[in-house]
């Protein structure tokens, strides 16, 4: 203990012994940088863990409660297997394809197998935290993004096909998309002189539009669940869903405020925007539901909170608190309308509304980021006007084009990947297996064994 205390004090002891002058100033600067690095690293490691919490148990429980009890384990597995699979893929090749220099569209292989990713910061992305911390933080995004899609194909996709689908989807859609928006030299990276500068603070486009639109394609390609919509397909445990949604809300502080990549004022701003977005989203959905169907439901409240969180994600590091309330509230209303009215009109079976919440909320958030982004919150571009409120109305067009590009890449990529999976192993379980439930047919176990 004494030795630890001494080592912590060492820079100051050294300072005291030095003569005045440049040496002393240099040592002070070094001590200040070390202190900032420690603070940033502490917040970023905590944020990294928070983002993992969003997938398991957050999203897993949210989705797991919404399916029938015969599919609860298979739905939990859709999230859990990604905590394993996407992590390993990220370390082997994903991080490099997303954040290696490469070209405008995809990274190169310089960081493959985490070569050169160590304790020294990478100044291109986050100059105050270990490169490993940055890599691990981004890894958690690569886990949750494909997990979000599982809401669309729940209760009917083969597990083997889901694994193959995810591997290809990460390679073809996610890694390139992350590079284009966040990677050095990326096509849409507003802070790296990309030709189509888009603001996406924590992944509205990269995470929610790509996963939401891919979910829509999956729902259409796989077709409806057996019996939908004529037979009752009710959520089997909304208490799970409630718990999961609240864990998502909690973990989202890591997702958004962590995207500041340091324990900064910007992180605090994103934290507040995130919370208000979720709160207003819940209010928006509840209000719409109360007026339309006469009763405000618990499922409606948590769905609205998630919709608000999705929409505030790209905006969280760019907008002031009051616009974040507007964005969240708008997402609650619009996503409610999508899920209860438009989905039934169009007739596709997006089982758990991955598109209705993430695709629609993500797109809305991307566009509204262009409206409300302000240099008063984010000085990443110096004194340049950011969004419409700063007088740069054209940013709304940029944001819309960026969202459109993500829609096209996600839709086309997903369609091709599903075709490949279908030809190789078939994407949908046989009808008998579906009726029996995926827990038994895919995993050989049951979630609830009451007689044991």
């Amino acid at each position: 203990m004494r030795r630890v205390a001494y080592s912590l004090l060492a820079p100051f002891v050294a300072l005291a012994q030095q003569p005045a002058g440049e040496d002393r100033i240099a040592a002070l600067e070094q001590a200040a940088a070390a202190a900032q690095g420690s603070a940033d690293n502490a917040w970023m490691l905590a944020s990294t863990a928070l983002v993992l919490l969003m997938t398991g148990p957050g999203l897993a429980l949210f989705y797991g409660g919404l399916v029938r009890k015969k599919n609860v384990l298979s739905t939990l597995m859709h999230s859990f297997v990604l905590m394993a699979l996407a992590s390993v893929m990220w370390a082997v090749i994903g991080y490099s394809l997303a954040f290696g220099d490469g070209n405008m569209f995809v990274g190169d292989l310089r960081f493959a197998f985490l070569d050169g990713v160590g304790m020294e910061p990478n100044g291109d992305y986050a100059g105050t935290i270990p490169h490993l911390t940055f890599m691990a933080f981004q890894m958690m995004f690569a886990i949750i993004t494909p997990a979000l899609i599982s809401g669309a194909f729940a209760e009917r996709m083969k597990f083997s096909a889901m694994v193959l689908f995810t591997i290809l989807w990460l390679l073809i859609v996610y890694f390139p998309m992350a590079h284009m928006v966040w990677g050095k030299g990326g096509f849409m990276n507003a802070f790296g002189d990309g030709p189509l500068p888009c603001f996406d603070f924590a992944g509205g486009t990269v995470v929610h539009i790509t996963s939401g639109v891919s979910a829509l394609i999956c729902a259409i390609y796989l077709g409806k669940r057996h019996g939908y919509p004529h037979e009752p397909i009710k959520p089997h445990n909304l208490v799970f869903s409630f718990t999961g949604a609240c864990l998502l809300w909690f973990g989202w502080f890591g997702f958004n405020a962590g995207s500041a990549l340091g324990a900064s004022g910007l992180a605090a701003s994103a934290f507040v925007a995130t919370h208000l977005g979720a709160a207003a989203g819940a209010l928006g959905w509840l209000l719409a539901e109360w007026m339309r169907s006469g009763k405000p439901s618990c499922l409606g409240g948590i769905s609205g909170a998630v919709a608000g969180l999705v929409a505030i994600t790209p905006a969280s590091g760019f907008v002031k608190p009051m616009p974040s309330i507007l964005i969240g509230f708008a997402a609650g209303l619009v996503c409610y309308f999508m899920v209860v009215a438009v989905k039934h009109k169009l007739g596709y079976d997006d089982a758990l509304d991955a598109f209705g919440v993430h695709g629609v909320g993500g797109t809305l958030g991307a566009i509204l980021t262009g409206v409300f982004a302000t240099k008063a919150v984010n000085d990443g571009l110096g004194t340049a006007a950011l969004g419409m409120v700063d007088g740069n109305g054209f940013q709304v067009v940029n944001q819309t084009l960026g969202a459109l590009f993500a829609w096209i890449l996600a839709a086309a990529g997903t369609w091709v990947i599903l075709k490949i999976c279908d030809v190789l192993i078939g994407v949908r379980v046989p009808a008998d297996d579906e009726i029996q439930g995926l827990d038994l047919s895919q995993h050989g176990e049951e979630g609830y064994i009451l007689e044991s």
Binding site: P229, P232, I233, K234, P235, S293, K295, S297, L299, G300, S303, V339, V340, A341, K343, H344, D353
Partner: protein, 112 residues
């Protein structure tokens, strides 16, 4: 011997049990069942998807009693299970051919 089969509201079970115990009826078998008579179900809405639930949770209670106890038991049951609203349930009475206690082969009323 008669068998009394009563379908009652789940929340009335404790009251019914206490009332039966008070008149000296101790043995019974209960099952959680679902069903409906004239009682209408209710509507549930999950993200805009409406479901009409018409099979409602009920408790089925079965008793086998000597002839002499049946009338009293039925009266106790109706009084304790009644709320006066639709959905209170029904009682059915059957003849029982034989009763056998597995432990010692007692037969008839002695087995009850």
């Amino acid at each position: 011997m008669k068998k009394i089969e009563a379908i009652i509201q789940p929340f009335k079970l404790d009251e019914v049990k206490e009332a039966l115990k008070a008149i000296g009826v101790d043995g019974m078998t209960i099952t959680e069942v679902r069903g409906h008579g004239r009682q209408k179900g209710h509507k549930e809405v999950y993200r805009g998807q409406e479901y009409n639930v018409d099979l409602l949770p009920k408790i089925k209670l079965e008793l086998v009693l000597p002839e002499g106890r049946v009338a009293e038991a039925i009266q106790t049951l109706t009084q304790s299970a009644r709320t006066g609203k639709i959905g209170d349930g029904k009682i059915f009475v059957y003849e029982v051919a034989e009763a056998i206690r597995i432990r010692n082969d007692d037969r008839g009323d002695a087995a009850l």
